[in-house]
């Protein structure tokens, strides 16, 4: 990992920097498995190695890969600052408990004891991460879902509308789809994978109570399935399957499900996000509540990530269209003007 990080710093080619970062994410995902965090590993593998690498590559396609050489002064200062800060942090770690120490403050804290020992019997859900995410820290997760929602809206506002502004230009399939002809093997074999990825995402969504999984993981896996479809068949085809307008609505629907369940709890006489009031049996109510908000989280995350990827692809497509139309159309127009 160290080698990859240093190589990322050293390379002047942005393409290789982005790919190296993807590998770095994949390795850190396997490190998360070693450190007993299966849920986190699942998310990191789908997000770090999949979605964020694709986002970076599609940005690079618009901006170019090379970095110009810079004067060394700034680098020296930056190295100095990083080394000093790093030395201070290492000095700080000298007082820290060793990794895996069972009597470290993190492990002996009463909260950790409660989550590990009481939560499975109290909620009847074996996976401790899920009730912790959805119930004990429900407010926190609500806030984070709202942040994801806001980020989705932000990207839509920044680059989403652009392709509709010059939408008249963009007849579907106007862009020559070279990739469709060139990578026939990839396309045919990749298409076989997509149903399984989507099915797996649904399993992860529904099975979050018993195995590693839940709304966030299912959302990113589902989104990467849709992203694979877009990569294989092109953005036009993908938007025909699931239109951006539907996605925009789904972004809000997911958050509304989450908030709506919270309000339903108040109407049933409990407090906000207190699921025990949802059913006569408090434990069943808790299960319904957790499943419901996981569904809300899953819908929002899927819709946000998919629409972000579609926005980037759409932006890239409008670039390509502009470039080809500038190459063909303006030359006859400019001659009478001059």
């Amino acid at each position: 990992m160290l080698a990859i990080a240093i190589a990322t710093c050293a390379t002047r080619n942005l393409f290789s920097a982005a790919m190296l970062f993807g590998i770095f994410s994949l390795i850190s995902a396997s490190l998360f498995v070693v450190l007993d965090a299966a849920d986190v590993a699942m998310t990191e593998a789908a997000v770090g190695a999949g979605v964020s690498t694709i986002l970076m590559l599609s940005t690079l396609a618009a901006t170019g890969y090379r970095i110009q050489r810079r004067p060394a002064g700034r680098q020296v200062l930056a190295i100095g600052v990083s080394v000093v800060l790093g030395a201070a942090l290492i000095y700080g770690t000298l007082d820290m408990p060793k990794v895996g120490d069972p009597i470290s403050p993190v492990q002996t804290n009463p909260i950790a004891k409660r989550y590990i020992q009481v939560s499975p019997t109290e909620t009847g859900i074996p996976n401790m991460v899920t009730p912790l995410l959805a119930s004990y820290r429900g407010f926190d997760t609500f806030g984070e879902t709202a942040v994801v929602f806001t980020a989705g809206i932000g990207v839509l506002a920044l680059i989403g509308r652009r392709r509709r502004r010059n939408g008249a230009l963009l007849v579907p399939n106007e862009v020559p789809e070279n990739s469709a002809q060139r990578h026939r093997v990839l396309r045919v074999s990749g298409k076989q994978l997509i149903p399984f990825i989507l099915l797996y995402a649904c399993y992860v969504q529904a099975h979050g109570d018993y195995g590693p999984g839940g709304g966030f993981q299912a959302g990113v896996i589902f989104a990467s399935g849709l992203m694979l479809y877009m990569l294989l068949l092109g953005i036009d085809e993908a938007e025909r399957i699931i239109s951006p307008k539907v996605l925009e609505k789904l972004i809000a629907v997911g958050l509304l499900i989450y908030g709506g369940i919270g309000l339903l709890d108040i109407l049933q006489g409990g407090s906000f996000l207190d699921y025990r009031t949802l059913s006569h049996n408090p434990q069943h109510g808790l299960h319904y509540g957790i499943l419901g908000i996981e569904l809300g989280v899953g819908i929002t995350v899927t819709a946000v990530i998919t629409s972000i990827v579609f926005c980037f692809a759409g932006h890239l497509r409008s670039h390509i269209v502009e470039r080809t139309s500038q190459a063909e159309i303006p030359s006859p127009k400019e001659t009478p003007a001059s």
Partner: protein, 117 residues
């Protein structure tokens, strides 16, 4: 595992600093974003490793297992990863708009254009 002890944290510090250096030193905006992501991922690894108990299991209740790793850092980082990719997307979207308006993603060239205008 005794060897890992504090050495684990030191590796994270070095990873984090390489991200920080990348963020400070590069004038290319995309490379800055990659540096931020590197920084972010190393903080994730740090958090997860504080939750690890040696001999512990994945925090899913299974009969016969008594020691589990702490699930709290897992929850925090799980949501942080998704929020992180969403904010990275915002950053990259801003870069795309900057590229459209200025025609470059190099910081000093953008500054020069701002001074001229």
């Amino acid at each position: 595992m005794e060897f890992l002890g504090l050495f684990n944290y030191w590796v994270f510090v070095v990873l984090m600093m390489s991200g920080f250096y990348l963020f400070l030193a590069s004038r290319n905006l995309i490379k800055k974003v990659i540096g931020l992501n590197l920084f972010q991922t190393s903080v994730f690894i740090f958090y997860i490793s504080t939750g690890k108990v040696s001999g512990g299991a994945v925090p899913i209740e299974t009969p016969g297992i008594l020691i589990y790793s702490n699930p709290l850092p897992h929850v925090l980082i799980l949501t942080a990863i998704v929020v992180g990719v969403a904010s990275t997307a915002i950053g990259l979207a801003l870069i795309l708009r900057i590229k459209d308006d200025y025609g470059t993603v190099e910081e000093d060239e953008i500054d020069a254009q701002d001074v001229l205008s």
